[in-house]
């Protein structure tokens, strides 16, 4: 034997799942919604997604390079963050604002806290809230969906269904019907509107065992129940705003959600309750991102509270 033998601790076989394969699956699961966004809001939606991904990866690369840290762009997490940021903005948003949000998410929220695994809130959520508070006007300037038959209609500045419904003088008749809501033919952030595409992606993630169904199911059930309690249309609440995007793609971020299943139930219920309370009683028409960020922050406490006695363990 010419070379020395390799010495490593057991186990000597692995199951082949890696951080990058997980993140690639998440990115793949968002492709249907990205396609839907392009069909609904036009090519500009796709451009924003691509720009956001490119700059997220760029910021991650350049930060790690300047700080003399290992390059982590190959783990695909920056790609996922970039896609999520674009999904969370209206298709009309100026490109530079998206790039600013990418910098905020990757550099401030993710890398300054230690990079992947150490951020305490979901970078994409923080970026969305940052944009919403900084540029409220632009963040709520919605393009009307393309009329499938007649091409783009530029009725800009339309209200989202949630804004219509949760306004003081709500008239249900002004909001789109359920079929359009499911297909995503409505105003809203570019990646959040097509409930069906998001559902397909979410089910893919569960099927691929990237996520368990616990968080999405508890979020959706809680939103439904809380909507009944607060007098909102529960079915409508499930498919409007960022409910679907949040439940399947944002709330399930590993780093910022509880690890044990009972913890995920508490976390999911928390998100559902806060979301509907903001929608029903808050100043903002939409509460999903605030709800997720708040529950991100309490995640370490939820994890600390959920203790599981090991097999054969004896309490002392």
């Amino acid at each position: 034997m010419e070379n020395k033998l390799i010495v490593t601790p057991s186990p000597h076989v692995k199951d082949g799942v890696s951080t990058s394969s997980i993140m690639m699956n998440v990115a793949a699961a968002m492709v249907p919604a990205a396609i839907a966004a392009t069909l609904i809001f036009g090519v500009r939606a796709l451009v924003l997604v691509l720009v956001s991904v490119a700059f997220s990866v760029f910021f991650e690369y350049i930060y790690r390079k300047l700080m003399h840290l290992d390059c982590t762009i190959s783990d695909w997490s920056a790609v996922v963050t970039g896609m999520l940021i674009a999904f969370n903005v209206p298709s009309t948003l100026p490109v530079w604002m998206v790039i600013l949000a990418d910098a905020m998410a990757i550099i401030v929220v993710k890398q300054l806290f230690g990079g992947i695994g150490d951020n305490f809130v979901n970078p994409a959520i923080a970026a969305r809230i940052f944009l919403l508070i900084s540029f409220s006007g632009r963040m709520t300037t919605w393009a009307d969906p393309i009329n499938f038959v007649g091409g783009p209609v530029d009725a800009v500045s339309g209200a989202t269904p949630l804004a219509i419904l949760t306004a003081a003088d709500a008239k249900v008749s002004d909001a789109p019907d359920m079929i359009n809501m499911l297909l995503g033919i409505r105003g809203g952030s570019l990646g959040e509107t097509c409930a069906i595409a998001l559902l397909v992606g979410g089910i893919y993630l569960i099927w691929k065992k990237v996520i368990t169904a616990t968080i999405p199911v508890t979020v959706l059930v809680t939103v439904f129940v809380m909507s009944l309690v607060t007098g909102l249309n529960p079915w409508y609440m499930l498919v409007s705003g960022g409910t679907m995007l949040g439940a399947f793609f944002m709330a399930t971020d590993y780093v910022t959600s509880p690890v044990r299943e009972p913890g995920k139930v508490i976390y999911g219920i928390g998100i559902g309750v806060i979301t509907v309370l903001i929608r029903a009683y808050g100043t903002y028409p939409e509460g999903m991102s605030f709800a997720i960020m708040l529950m991100n922050i309490v995640t370490p406490h939820i994890d600390g509270a959920i203790k599981k006695m090991p097999f054969g363990g004896v309490s002392k």
Partner: protein, 436 residues
């Protein structure tokens, strides 16, 4: 009280890679030289009983110890003692090793004769004289295991034929080829320990063994065959006890404390063999496999034979080996050269090529929770890893690192490729140092 467990324990589905299932065991020729270390068991090392230039015979006692926790060692060949060398075990312990130049005559030690066993005490003495240790991998001296303090409370023998490690098929071959001896061994232990029942536990990926043992034990009272789902680590002691009896071995207790003794099929077969022939433990049936081995097969090899000689008998290396493991791929330990000798508790030699040997570098934990879902004992490997790396002894204690059996499920599923088992091993050591 230990917590109640009503549901199945976690674990992982591993690729079985049981390539040698159909390979009948073959005895390899006597090598020119054997190296027989004086520690091949859990416990105190033996002292060599022979000197350089002494003539030795097969089955001659060449090492023993007065310590309670030890097991005598016998020569596997006839020949001349060439050297008493220094040896370092895989765990870093230092001991002597008797190096014997074989004369290839295989002259049997004239003193050997089948022991007379009429009582539990006779059996314990015989098992010690056989040099028997747990052949499944742990190497716990069998005469101590079969002689628990609370013997009258022990009612159940679990016969471990799970063989849940990938690649290894030697227990399967033994169950098929030496069925009668295995059944005899079970009968002997059940009789002299006055046990109520014996449960032979086999994973469902070995239907031939299940069928054969079901048939062989059909007329026996209190002996049954239990089919286990194929899931790693079904063969781990606490797991197999739970699967077969529903009992949970509490922290710091032994299986005997819950009325159960677990023995590997190979161990029980050897008991019957010793009582019949009087030949102590001098050879071992092992699986030789892996991507670098030309002709994977099940081999009966003399103890102390070098891996190099054993592998040469299996057609040598197909490609350059980059990693050689003693045992299975989940819990096996690497050796640093193929000069390593075969020990009592080895049940496999795996040699892998470059592709199967290189480990990916560790990256940051992404808190995916896969390790927690994989751990059969519900431990939190990611948190233990963090606690160990930050030297947090209190946290290690609170998270019960001491319960980790190092089965490797957590590291097997970790997408960040973290050495979680190593952290737990070192965490346990840190805890021991702190409590001393």
């Amino acid at each position: 009280m230990p917590s109640e467990f009503s549901k199945a324990l976690n674990g992982v589905k591993v690729k079985h890679c049981k390539n040698t299932s159909a390979s009948e065991s073959v005895r390899m020729p006597v090598p020119d030289r054997v190296v027989i270390p004086m520690i091949q068991h859990m416990g105190a090392p033996c002292t060599p009983l022979v000197k350089v230039k002494d003539t030795v015979t097969v089955g001659q006692r060449i090492g023993d110890s007065d310590a309670f926790m030890s097991s005598p060692i016998f020569s596997s060949v006839s020949g001349t003692v060439a050297e008493i060398s220094d040896f370092v075990t895989s765990s870093g312990a230092k001991c002597k090793a008797v190096v014997i130049a074989a004369d290839k005559e295989q002259t049997v030690c004239p003193d050997l004769q089948p022991p007379v066993v009429n009582s539990h005490a006779d059996l314990i003495k015989a098992v010690r004289d056989c040099g028997l240790v747990g052949l499944g991998g742990a190497g716990f001296p069998t005469h101590i295991k079969l002689n628990p303090k609370n013997l009258s409370e022990v009612k159940t023998l679990v016969v471990n034929g799970a063989e849940c490690e990938p690649y290894l098929t030697c227990d399967l071959r033994l169950m098929l080829e030496q069925t009668d001896k295995l059944v005899k061994g079970i009968e002997i232990v059940k009789k002299y320990l006055e046990l109520d029942e014996a449960i032979i536990a086999i994973e469902d990926n070995k239907p031939e063994a299940i069928a054969k043992l079901t048939e062989a034990t059909a007329s026996m009272d209190g002996v049954s065959v239990k089919t286990l789902r194929s899931k790693y680590p079904q063969g781990a002691e606490k797991v197999i006890i739970f699967e077969c009896t529903g009992k949970v071995v509490p922290e710091g207790k032994l299986p005997a404390d819950v009325g159960v003794i677990v023995d590997n099929v190979a161990t029980l077969t050897k008991i019957a063999d010793y009582l019949e022939t009087g030949m102590p433990l001098v050879e071992k049936l092992i699986t030789v496999d892996g991507s670098a081995i030309a002709e994977p097969k099940n081999v009966i090899a003399p103890l102390g034979a070098s891996y190099k000689d054993i592998i040469a008998f299996c057609g040598g290396y197909k490609t350059e080996p980059r990693k050689i493991i003693m045992g299975g791929p989940m819990m096996g330990i690497v050796v640093t050269s193929d000069d390593a000798p075969l020990l009592k508790n080895n049940n496999g030699i795996l040699a892998f090529d470059e592709k199967d040997s290189v480990q990916e570098p560790e990256t940051a934990c992404i808190r995916c929770g896969r390790c927690m879902r994989a751990c059969p004992f519900n431990l939190a490997p990611a948190q233990l890893d963090k606690a160990y790396r930050s030297g947090n002894v209190d946290k290690l204690r609170a998270l019960k690192v001491n319960l980790c059996m190092e089965c490797g499920c957590c590291a097997y599923v970790c997408p960040a490729k973290r050495d979680l088992v190593m952290s737990n091993r070192l965490g346990k050591q840190l805890l021991r140092e702190q409590s001393n």
